[in-house]
């Protein structure tokens, strides 16, 4: 009992969140589950970006390109070579990870600002790069993907709980959730152990890290590779969840969305990408639809928000969050929690295995 009491509240929070997401589809519609699946998929990509930006200090504005790579690898294998889709996911992820690793080699020479510039240009060019080899990628016709039906067991299990059998969308939700759980767990272990410490060391002071014997080049490229692996997984799932990919599905705004999610959620944190993904995915949709439908918001404001489009709300919120909460939602939560603790106990608990709140020193 004392062990349970001694377990940091964080672990309980994780359990609650996991159980929540497991049970979520039973209380929302199939369509809403498909939206949440997309948010979870985004969380995977954002976690990848977080590993790169938050933990190893390298700036990338082009992760949409890695998602595209993962998505197209999976789609081509499934569509053209008739491979079972679930099998294509790890293949796409590994391939993208490898490409990311190779990409990390020239990236070593670039300062954060220049890397941002180069990756931004990559993100802008991605749709036209996809269009070119149209025999392979289907060009602008895109590739249609058949969404798998859930296996019998899943369908029946779901039916016993909710009364209706599981739909394809809900099955994809669970696949995405499984990937999130696995990959987040991997990331958590990564940052707790040597690779994570090495990355944070080189993020916080490259020269000191090198002097301490950290293999700078090795870890930086490793970070790129891992980050691309995550983005590739997300891309592969993204193609599955959407059912269709084409060059215009990967515009530069996707890369920006990922970065925004990473930063708003909170860099160098594990829960950050999940929170950031929810924010980044649902904000444009809601500002376009939910806001105008609320009667308590004055008409002028509502119609301006709707007509000005998600772009303006996005931009304004982004700036405000960067100015007032640069450590993101997780940073806000941590500060709130600490304040609460100070009030209640007068001392700070130091929790094992968790990172102290890091200032952003990227």
């Amino acid at each position: 009992m004392s062990r349970l009491r001694g377990a940091p509240p964080r672990y309980w929070l994780v359990v609650i969140v996991v159980v929540f997401f497991l049970g979520f589809p039973t209380v929302i519609t199939s369509f809403q589950a498909s939206l949440w699946a997309q948010a979870l998929i985004l969380a995977i990509a954002i976690m990848g970006l977080n590993i790169l930006v938050g933990y190893s200090g390298q700036l990338s504005l082009g992760h949409g390109a890695f998602m595209a790579l993962g998505a197209y690898t999976s789609a081509i294998l499934a569509h053209r070579y008739k491979m079972d889709y679930l099998l294509t996911i790890p293949i796409a992820a590994l391939f993208t990870g490898l490409v990311g690793f190779l990409f990390g080699i020239p990236a070593l020479r670039l300062s954060p600002l220049y890397l941002a510039l180069a990756t931004f240009a990559l993100a802008v060019v991605t749709p036209s790069l996809i269009k070119r080899p149209d025999k392979l990628t289907g060009g602008v016709q895109g590739i249609i993907l058949i969404q798998p039906d859930p296996p019998g067991i899943a369908r029946d299990a779901f039916a016993t709980v909710t009364g209706t059998p599981m739909t394809s969308d809900q099955w994809i939700y669970y696949i995405s959730l499984a990937c999130v759980l696995v990959l987040f767990w991997v990331a958590w272990n990564l940052v707790r152990h040597r690779p994570g410490r090495a990355m944070r060391a080189l993020r916080d002071g490259e020269v000191a890290a090198a002097a301490s014997g950290v293999n700078i080049a090795g870890f930086k490229t490793l970070a790129f590779g891992i980050s691309a692996f995550y983005a590739g997984t997300a891309g592969s799932l993204f193609a599955l969840a959407t059912g269709f990919i084409s060059p215009d599905a990967f515009p530069v705004s996707l890369s920006i969305q990922l970065l925004v999610g990473a930063v708003v959620g909170g860099l160098a944190s594990i829960p950050g990408p999940l929170l950031g993904a929810i924010f980044a995915y649902f904000l444009p949709i809601e500002s376009n639809q939910w806001v105008p439908s609320q009667s308590w918001i004055p008409d002028q404001i509502a119609s301006t928000v709707k007509n000005a489009g998600p772009a303006v709300s996005y931009g304004v919120l982004l700036i405000l969050i960067m100015i007032f909460a640069p450590n993101g939602l997780v940073g806000l939560a941590r500060r709130g929690y600490e304040l609460l603790q100070k009030r209640l106990r007068g001392t700070n608990d130091r929790e094992t295995g968790q990172l102290p709140p890091d200032p952003q020193t990227v």
Binding site: T29, S30, F31, Q32, S34, L35, Q38, V124, V125, P127, S128, K131, G139, V140, Q141, G142, I144, F238, T242, G243, F244, I245, S246, P247, D248, A249, F250, P251, S253, L254, I285, N288, Q289, N307, G309, P310, A311
Partner: protein, 410 residues
């Protein structure tokens, strides 16, 4: 007992008669998802932000027409509610937004979805769910041609390939020895036109001496046009979206090159020609085709259809009346209302789809005189007639008569 039985019998007879009438040929009202006794809900996805946002006004124009119809009492007593969602021309957005309209908002039908990639991305879904994907706002030939495998999807405007056939005919008739250069956008839009042109020229397709593509991310088309000029081409086809068309017209003039120019119909509204002229384009010897009336053409000033258009478009605060896209929106909304009216009390998806795909026979007040919006059980291309127009300095002049491309695309 003696007096009850006859009454029971009478009641029974009455009810049987009632049932017999009800089971007859649709004299009882039938409805479907998205239809109530007072409203019909239509859904739409269109680009209202991002790079293709100039098309977004089409949705607003359609809404303006529905508002007008509603003010006249609606369709058979039902008002049309029209929900427009912005997909920023990104097919990955179109999918969840369409799913929302179908599964959450429970629309009766999807109407005038814009963008080839966007509408392709949801075609399978809508067909599987048996939701009408009506009158998609793209001329990509596949939406009409592949009706056989997608019976819930229908286009409206003349397909790009059909339009290009007309250009081919015109070239063969008027410039039989032309050396043709083609500038085309490297996506479905440009490629569809190019295919149509080649098919239309048939064995004369060797008249094409050069074809250059450009990507939408290009800063301009100077490199491509310089190359085409160097091939000695004396006829130039520009298969580009409006912005690039205008810039290309200017570049051609700046290169002191004077080919016979063919423009595609999406980019020919008078407004754009005006911008090109102000930016330095000579606009000499330019040909295109049209099937709708141009709002800035003085010959339609007193035309009933044009007057109706002006009335309707006033409902839309952000719509510029001179923008040809708005006229397009009102025209296609007219067809939609026409279909709904024809459905009468049998307001089911299947019936509406049947009418739209095989029973259309409409004279659209916003289309050029003589254009018939028509579908039959074997022909699912609603509009297949266009008329050649040539630029006369301040406006387009109709040439000859309507050219019918019906039956040329299998």
């Amino acid at each position: 007992m003696g007096r009850i039985a006859p009454r029971l019998a009478a009641v029974a007879a009455f009810m049987v008669t009632l049932a017999a009438c009800g089971g007859g040929t649709g004299s009882s009202a039938q409805t479907d998802v998205g239809v109530t006794s007072t409203s019909i809900l239509l859904g739409n996805t269109i680009a209202q932000s991002g790079a293709a946002a100039a098309y977004g006004t089409i949705g607003n124009a359609e809404l303006a027409y529905f508002t007008y119809i509603n003010s006249q009492g609606g369709v058979n007593g039902r008002k049309i509610n029209f929900k427009i969602l912005d997909d920023a021309y990104n097919p990955a957005q179109t999918v969840p937004l369409t799913k929302q309209l179908v599964e959450q908002d429970q629309v009766f039908a999807m109407f005038s979805g814009l963008g080839t990639q966007a509408q392709t991305s949801v075609r399978e879904y809508l067909n599987a769910k048996k939701v009408p994907q009506l009158f998609v706002a793209t001329g990509a030939t596949t939406f009409n041609k592949d009706f056989g495998s997608n019976q819930w999807t229908l286009g409206w405007q003349p397909p790009y390939q059909g339009e290009a056939h007309i250009y081919a005919k015109d070239v063969l008739a008027n410039h039989a020895n032309a050396k043709i250069g083609v500038l085309y956008q490297n996506d479905d839009y440009g490629q569809d036109y190019l295919k149509g042109l080649k098919d239309g020229l048939g064995d004369k397709s060797s008249m094409i001496v050069g074809s250059e593509s450009y990507d939408v991310t290009a800063a301009n088309t100077a490199a491509q046009l310089t190359k085409l000029k160097a091939t000695g081409a004396d006829t130039l086809f520009i298969f580009a979206t409006p912005g690039f068309t205008i810039k290309s017209l200017v570049t051609v003039t700046l290169l002191h090159w004077e080919p016979a120019i063919y423009l595609n119909s999406v980019s020919n509204p008078q407004v754009y020609m005006g911008i090109a002229a102000k930016s330095g384009a000579a606009n000499k010897n330019v040909t295109s085709v049209g099937y709708l009336k141009d709002p800035t053409d003085p010959q339609w000033a007193n035309d009933e259809g044009m007057k109706l258009y002006k009335t309707v478009i006033a409902n839309c605060a952000t719509c510029k009346p001179e923008d040809g896209f708005n006229l397009y929106g009102v025209a296609v909304a007219y067809t939609m209302v026409d279909v709904l009216k024809q459905a009468g009390s049998n307001m089911t998806r299947a019936n509406v789809m049947k009418i739209a795909s095989s029973q259309l026979n409409e004279t659209n007040p916003f289309a050029l005189p003589g254009v018939k919006v028509q579908t039959t059980s074997s022909d699912h291309f609603p509009i297949m007639q266009e008329q050649v127009i040539t630029w006369a300095g301040t406006g387009w002049k109709l040439q000859g008569s309507l050219i019918d491309e019906r039956g040329t695309i299998k």
